[in-house]
């Protein structure tokens, strides 16, 4: 039983990472097409990671630098375990949305720790921006999350997904607004433009990653792939029913749900990339103001709307 579970966990993390790495290539391809370029092959992500992991030399800035990366990889994989993927509840019954929110902070903090340990001033500035960005987008995001929690009267993501069997959350009027807000928050979570200032390569030499090279950078790319899957899945789980279309426990249902989940996160990711390619970059305080003024206001409107719906 335990071995089975561990095997399933291993399978799912592998799949998630695979999808994530694939998405990195797909993303570059999409961006290239928008730029009217040919772009790299869709499997470019795998090549990049393979190259980085096969680098001959490797530098380290001390044990904190190494452990921090370990920490972020672990954190992102753990997060994925607590998210229902295509309706499959791995560990998601054992925790809830708050746990996921805080688990998502583990990789971010680990990454920040590694960047700090690298001793590069650019990295510190990048981390500062990343953390401020996190503070910014979390406010509208948690408000929409609370709207969902209040509406479905549960804080467990798995249960929220289950309750969307009949009707996806996005089909309920207030959650259209909430989903729009959450999608902009997603933009910040994925560090896509207009919120890509934490890693601005030409300004602060790619920020937190400035000192990462070789295998460390490879691990970082895996982590990045994981975040893409985690955040898009979170969005899909919250607003798009987790991609669950068939409810019987058959193998076909698994496959269908998985396929729908894949398509949905692909769509969400594509949307995010399209926004990314069409906008310039916000400065960090502009991003902060954007999230805390307009986004938070919209989110709060949807929350009050939901609240009024629930209490009446």
């Amino acid at each position: 039983m335990v071995v089975e579970k561990i095997a399933v966990i291993a399978l799912y993390t592998t799949i998630a990472m695979f999808v994530g790495i694939l998405f990195m290539g797909v993303g570059r391809k999409i961006v290239a097409r928008v730029h009217n370029r040919v772009g790299p092959p869709v499997y470019q992500g795998f090549i990049d990671i393979a190259k980085l992991l096969t680098k001959k030399t490797n530098i380290s800035h001390g044990w904190i630098y190494d452990l921090a990366l370990l920490f972020s990889m672990t954190g992102i994989m753990l997060t994925i375990l607590f998210l229902p993927i295509g309706g499959v509840k791995l560990l998601s019954m054992e925790g809830d949305a708050f746990l996921v929110l805080y688990l998502l902070a583990i990789p971010a903090l680990g990454f920040a720790l590694g960047a700090g340990a690298s001793g590069n001033p650019n990295a510190a500035i990048g981390v500062m921006r990343a953390l401020v960005m996190m503070l910014s987008y979390e406010l509208p995001f948690v408000i929409t999350l609370i709207a969902l929690m209040i509406y479905y009267d549960t804080s467990s993501i798995a249960q929220i997904v289950e309750m969307q069997h009949a009707k996806w959350a996005i089909m309920i009027p207030p959650f259209v607004l909430a989903a729009a807000v959450a999608d902009m928050a997603l933009q910040g979570m994925l560090m896509e433009a207009p919120f890509d200032i934490p890693t601005a390569p030409h300004e602060i030499a790619s920020g937190p990653m400035a000192e990462f090279g070789g295998k460390h950078l490879g691990a970082l790319m895996i982590y990045k792939a994981g975040t893409i899957v985690a955040y898009t899945t979170l969005f899909v789980d919250l607003f798009l029913g987790g991609g669950v279309v068939m409810h019987d426990g058959s193998v076909l249902a698994y496959l269908a749900n998985f396929a729908v989940w894949f398509i949905l996160i692909f769509l969400v990711f594509t949307l995010s990339l399209l926004i990314n390619t069409s906008f310039p970059r916000f400065r960090i305080e502009q991003a902060f103001k954007f999230y805390w003024k307009y986004e938070a206001l919209l989110a709060f409107i949807s929350l009050i709307w939901v609240y009024l719906m629930v209490i009446s």
């Binding site: 290239a32 393979a50 190259k51 680098k55 530098i59 390569p201």
Partner: protein, 184 residues
């Protein structure tokens, strides 16, 4: 003891994977001191689109595989170039642009210009011309990929092997500069 350094997988096989991967994913740090830097944007943008080969610019030497020397080097910039080169992770490659790094080019009689980059850093591919056109630059990249594929792009190994000599040459160049400074 390394996991991938011969215990589990043969070094040659590992090397092969490494070569295949790095051939298709050359990340470059371009050292834009000379005039050659202006030739790079066309290479990156939609006309030539270097990204279809998996190439792309990187912000720091730690992340990059290819060092582009885009034009002449003075003694002062050479220090930085050496610094950057040493911060890159092996395997790493150097492409030099234009005539200046080859033989001094139009600065052949300058007192302060590095005449032969080869004395200080192992250059894998030279692109001739003053300046080379983007086609030439593209061609150089393809050449480098071919060399990597064939296992001939071994400049970084050379640098490790003849480290003392390279250092001596570099030091001579830097000392030259210091004497000049003191004289002035």
């Amino acid at each position: 003891m390394g996991l991938f350094d011969g215990d589990i997988m043969k070094y040659e096989d590992w090397n092969k994977i490494s070569r295949i991967a790095s051939r298709k994913s050359l990340w470059m740090v371009h050292f834009c001191t000379g005039c050659g830097a202006i030739e790079l944007p066309p290479v990156m943008t939609s006309r030539y689109d270097m990204e279809r080969f998996g190439m792309g610019p990187m912000a720091t030497p730690r992340q990059a595989d290819v060092l582009l020397i885009t034009g002449y080097l003075t003694v002062k910039t050479l220090k930085r170039v050496v610094n950057v080169y040493e911060q890159m992770q092996s395997p790493k490659y150097v492409i030099s642009f234009g005539s200046c790094p080859i033989n001094g080019g139009m600065y052949w009689d300058s007192y302060n210009t590095v005449k032969r980059l080869d004395r200080y850093l192992p250059v894998d591919v030279y692109v001739g011309g003053c300046m080379p056109r983007p086609e030439g630059v593209m061609n150089a990249f393809l050449e480098l990929m071919k060399l990597i594929d064939e296992g001939k792009a071994r400049g970084w190994e050379k640098y490790q092997k003849y480290y003392e000599q390279y250092k001596r040459n570099q030091k001579m160049a830097f000392n030259f500069e210091r004497e000049k400074d003191e004289g002035a």
